[in-house]
Symmetry: C2
Subunit: 357 residues, 2 copies
Amino acid sequence: MKKLINQPEDFVKESLAGMAIAHSDLIKVNYDPTYVYRATAPIPGKVAIISGGGSGHEPMHAGFVGKGMLDAACPGEVFTSPTPDQMLAAAQQVDGGAGILYIVKNYSGDVMNFEMATELARSEGIRVLNILIDDDVAVKDSLYTQGRRGVGTTVLAEKICGAAAEQGYDLPQIADLCRRVNLNGRSMGIALTSCTVPAKGTPTFTLSDRQMEIGIGIHGEPGRERIDLKSADEIAQRLTQTILDDTGYSRVVREWDENSGEWVDVELVDPPLQTGDRLLAFVNSMGGTPISELYLIYRQLAEICEQRGMLIVRNLIGPYITSLEMQGCSITLLKLDDELIRLWDAPVHTANLRWGM
Amino acid sequence: MKKLINQPEDFVKESLAGMAIAHSDLIKVNYDPTYVYRATAPIPGKVAIISGGGSGHEPMHAGFVGKGMLDAACPGEVFTSPTPDQMLAAAQQVDGGAGILYIVKNYSGDVMNFEMATELARSEGIRVLNILIDDDVAVKDSLYTQGRRGVGTTVLAEKICGAAAEQGYDLPQIADLCRRVNLNGRSMGIALTSCTVPAKGTPTFTLSDRQMEIGIGIHGEPGRERIDLKSADEIAQRLTQTILDDTGYSRVVREWDENSGEWVDVELVDPPLQTGDRLLAFVNSMGGTPISELYLIYRQLAEICEQRGMLIVRNLIGPYITSLEMQGCSITLLKLDDELIRLWDAPVHTANLRWGM
């Protein structure tokens, strides 16, 4: 296992400790229960945005805590859901009286624990809503997941909702916004190599020197198929076309209804993509792929969008939602509107995403 | 060879083409000769900063072209020096009448070609100075290099000199500043794995599953020794201590003397590091190492600096000067003063380094 680590069981806490020292102007870290929070929290009157999930996807989520993005992040052990007590403690720490939005990636453990944390926080008088991200078009029902997995759109939702919170949107408005980002965001990824969870010490799966996995999950879950290595252009084509052709996905999600004071099942359907749509194109490294290769993917992706009459008006290119040292990439396309563009462009200052301040 | 590429011989140009499309607000790319330049260049009255070198170290240098950093970058093929005609054409493109500073990493091919370009540009009436970066404390005289190699301090020099140019410093002032950054910057790196040059298709060197290379060069050149894998803390200790104990390095460099109108040999000596010094700590990924691991290195590095009575007042953590998909890291420590801090903090907006705008 070739990693810069000490004892595998200390990996997450030591990495967070390094972050805390490096970015003490932005964040603080609490241990037992473990969460990372904005140094200036709570901010009175501002909705607080909290996310979380298994570690190993850095910089998501802890690297996105700061001005204009997350108020707190709850990291689990590598590829392991955080626990409700982490989520509750984070909510208590950052609640500024305007409520909390939990942004939850669709993995069964995350969903269950965030729902439990929602109940606990409410019983303590904290207003909480939670919105699910389920944007991975590769597969439906996977290891750890019922329905589609939550991947790249999470990063975009955290940025956009963080900006809205900064600008004074209230909790229902931000929940609606987050849901809209999720329904308009679609992702798919590929792996060239596996990754190794520190506590396990051996690769999560194996790929021969000539194989790649199409539709990989961010924990190394199986995708659609395992095929011979393709060129960057072919990979970009396959991912982009699959994403652009995927419309109308329908699912039922469980959301808290503040009016009735109970959980309700809501049917949500992805809106269509059309000629003339404006897109944010996010080309993401799985961790071990350098940025030079991502630009080859972007080049082909941009060409296909242009052929389809769609306009990429914003982009994000780099390692933002990773799978440890896995080589590979994912593409996320988010259909934009004027409001989403304005919120995307708003200043952000976190450890690992920053502009405008 | 597991990479996102098409034909290996097209890798550099296709990657640049992707950059140009993704960041058309910031940069333009010229082919034959190949260089990347700031979309708004030339900027009348501003000194232009140009760097360049072999590709494969992205985001350096093309990812640093933009506001507050480089005016142009000259990428060679992977791990291959760019040619004088690229450097000359870039200078002609971005010269705003206040002259050009070439920032040159100390590799024999780069040094020779930038000197030739300097002569050519001068013969065309462009004022040019060039400053060498030779900050790698690992080894003296290496594959491709006489003296010490130029590594991580290059990124810091490009940022700081770019800010100075933006603020109206003149050419000799910026050359002095760049020299000062180089003399006060020290780096060293390690590799856990090799990397594969696309045109070759096989790993540059081999390391067994239990080995690492201490003092690796950014082209995979041999370092000080090949040893059994160490823990993150031991690696951080070894790199940090070697850097902090390295003072007084003396070398003779060839610089253009504007007064006499000829090349002169100048002896330069690294100043000492002392208790109370303020440092910029730069922990860099070699490309394949995720940021979560870099924070473990930073944590130990910060502890050692504190023990030595030195204060880290700024940091940079991430993949900025890489070796394709190599796993490993490097540490650069730059001794700061008030002026360097002010220039480091100044706004920058490039494809791959951005803050304050």
